[in-house]
């Protein structure tokens, strides 16, 4: 089996005088290394320059609101069931009169927590959600934590801010084959 076309038959033939003197080979090598000295470096200076990771990168979780700003999540628990790392937990509550502007359905998640130490960013919660409520943002990563207490993300960190609505900049691209598009309205 041939893996690459760069493999070379090893040879133990007698070296010629030029090879025994090392110098021609060394000069050749010096030429190769100095040509690399002047090449453009591929390094991206990470914290200052951030690379676009593609439209389907699975990063920071977001709990979507609908067009009128109501939370989509109904605390059905399918995401928690789908989660292979068991990172998601939630407490459901019933919507009372006067909260129609806050929650879309009669039932909502009073507590919705994702343990970021457990999360493996597989995107199965996104796939499981029947209400298009949970998404993994392609443009933001979960920051490095320094305090153990801060690593369980609650609704304060997860629910989408109205001034920072999340849209996939390429809605035709799907993270998973079964992912419903963000632009499609849900009846």
């Amino acid at each position: 089996m041939q893996l690459t076309n760069r493999s070379k038959q090893v040879s133990n033939k007698e070296m010629t005088l030029a090879e025994k003197m090392y110098l021609p080979a060394i000069l050749q090598g010096l030429g190769i290394t100095i040509s690399h000295f002047f090449k453009k470096k591929p390094t991206i200076q990470y914290p200052e320059v951030k690379r676009y990771l593609g439209p389907i990168f699975r990063g920071h979780h977001v709990l979507k609101r609908d067009e009128q700003g109501r939370e989509r999540c109904t605390a059905c628990g399918l995401c928690a069931v789908a989660c292979p790392a068991e990172a998601i937990s939630m407490v459901a509550a019933e919507r009372v009169k006067g909260e129609e502007g806050l929650y879309r359905e009669e039932k909502y998640a009073a507590v919705y927590e994702i343990n970021m130490l457990r999360c493996i960013f597989c995107g199965l919660c996104e796939e499981a959600c029947p209400k298009q409520a949970v998404y993994l943002r392609h443009d933001r990563i979960v920051p490095v934590f320094t305090e153990r207490d801060n690593i369980v993300y609650g609704k304060d960190k997860l629910v989408e801010k109205m001034d920072d609505r999340y849209v996939r900049n390429n809605p035709s691209v799907q993270a998973t084959p079964t992912e419903p598009s963000l632009s499609r309205s849900v009846g």
Binding site: Q9, V10, S11, N12, K13, T16, L17, A18, M21, Y22, L23, P24, I26, G29, L30, I32, T33, I34, H36, F37, K39, K41, P42, T43, Q45
Partner: protein, 386 residues
């Protein structure tokens, strides 16, 4: 008068000392930067602009580390090792002429630590002492890897010192002096093509290879090869003692670059130096003009040194380490006979007043290379023995 001489000498020695240390410090930075660039990376760029504070951060780290002496080590020799390495490395730069001279009133002060007529011999003596630092440190560590590294260093340095000395004899024959200043002045009088690199190409290559070996630089860094000996002679060292060993290597590199530049590349001399000197004297007056010309020469000398330091690093990231038997074969079977041949041919050339005689060796070698590669079987691959 005596006091004046003493004071000026003290100042010059302190300045040379400081410059040597500064260059050695920034050689560590340059090493990392050059290594990175040769490998398509960027190198240190976080500490200060372009990472320029990196050596200071490194030194700070070294100072704050635990200074550990192993229980079974010979304590005093263990301390003496890095001291010796540092001492000998710093001593060598005393006789190197960094520039012509500074005129100050009726005084004329050479830009040099000490002008002695056995300068080259002094450098050889000090460089040979340098192996004691490695040897003593490796032995005192009471560790088999350190000892192996030290033995390797000792045998390597002794082997290559022979070829180093032989290669220099040809230059000394042509100059007739052991003083480095006299060697530089002689190259200045004969002009650009009188530089010893043009009259002594073979000697230059031998000297260069031996200088790499003497500095324990790749491809001859067997004393500290990590794959076989962990860290070689400095395996047991930590904190600033290790720092001294690493530092001594860079100082040695600086000194050998300076010696190579003054022996073979005309030192502080540069093409049209005499004309530049005359023009400056005419324009600025005898003293100022002369001093400016000296400064120019010093700058040229330092740029030559920096080129060779760069060359040391360039080679380090190009050529892999030799095997031990290859090292000994190269030293004893190739370089020493070649150096002897070089001496003989130079002597014959001097007899007939022909300075470029050693080019014969180069021409013969090139012819032999061409013939041997022409006769080599093309594309034939021997069957592997199993």
């Amino acid at each position: 008068m005596d006091l004046t001489i003493l004071l000026t000498k003290a100042i010059i020695i302190l300045v040379i000392f400081g410059i040597t240390l500064l260059i050695a410090t920034y050689s560590t930075y340059a090493e990392r930067k050059v290594a990175a660039f040769l490998q398509d990376r960027l190198g240190p760029n976080r500490a200060g602009p372009f990472g320029l504070l990196q050596p200071i951060a490194d030194a700070g780290k070294m100072f704050f580390k635990e200074d550990f002496i192993p229980a079974q080590a010979n304590k005093w020799l263990f301390i003496l090792g890095p001291c010796l390495a540092m001492l000998t490395a710093l001593m060598a730069s005393a006789v190197i002429p960094f520039g012509d001279s500074i005129r100050f009133g009726q005084y004329e002060i050479p830009v040099q630590g000490i002008e002695i007529n056995i300068g080259m011999l002094y450098i050889f003596g000090v460089v040979s002492l340098g192996v004691y630092g490695v040897m003593v440190g490796g032995w005192a560590s009471n560790n088999k890897f350190s000892l192996l590294g030290a033995i390797r260093a000792a045998s390597q340095n002794i082997s290559y010192e022979v070829a180093l000395g032989m290669s220099i004899i040809a230059v000394l024959m042509m100059t007739g002096s052991l003083s480095l200043r006299a060697i530089v002045e002689q190259q200045a009088t004969t002009g650009f093509f009188g530089w010893n690199v043009f009259t002594q190409p073979v000697g230059f290559i031998i000297f260069l290879v031996c200088a790499f070996a003497e500095c324990n630089r790749t491809p001859f860094d067997l004393p500290e090869c990590e794959t076989e000996l962990i860290g070689g002679y400095h395996t047991e060292y930590s904190s600033m003692k290790l720092g001294f060993y690493l530092f001594a290597e860079y100082i040695n590199m600086f000194v050998s670059s300076a010696v190579i530049s003054s022996l073979y590349f005309g030192g502080y001399h540069f093409p049209f130096a005499a004309q530049a000197h005359d023009a400056l004297v005419n324009a600025l007056g005898a003293n100022t003009g002369h001093n400016v010309a000296t400064a120019l020469g010093t700058v040229v000398f330092f740029s030559k040194i920096f080129f060779f330091i760069f060359f040391f690093m360039w080679v380090r990231w190009t050529v892999p380490r030799f095997r031990y038997d290859q090292l000994m074969n190269l030293g004893w079977k190739s370089l020493i006979p070649l150096a002897m041949l070089n001496v003989v041919i130079t002597g014959a050339g001097l007899l007939f007043n022909f300075n470029y005689a050693t080019w014969i060796v180069v021409i013969v070698a090139v012819l032999m290379i061409v013939v041997s590669s022409a006769r080599a079987p093309k594309g034939a691959v021997a069957v592997q023995r199993t």
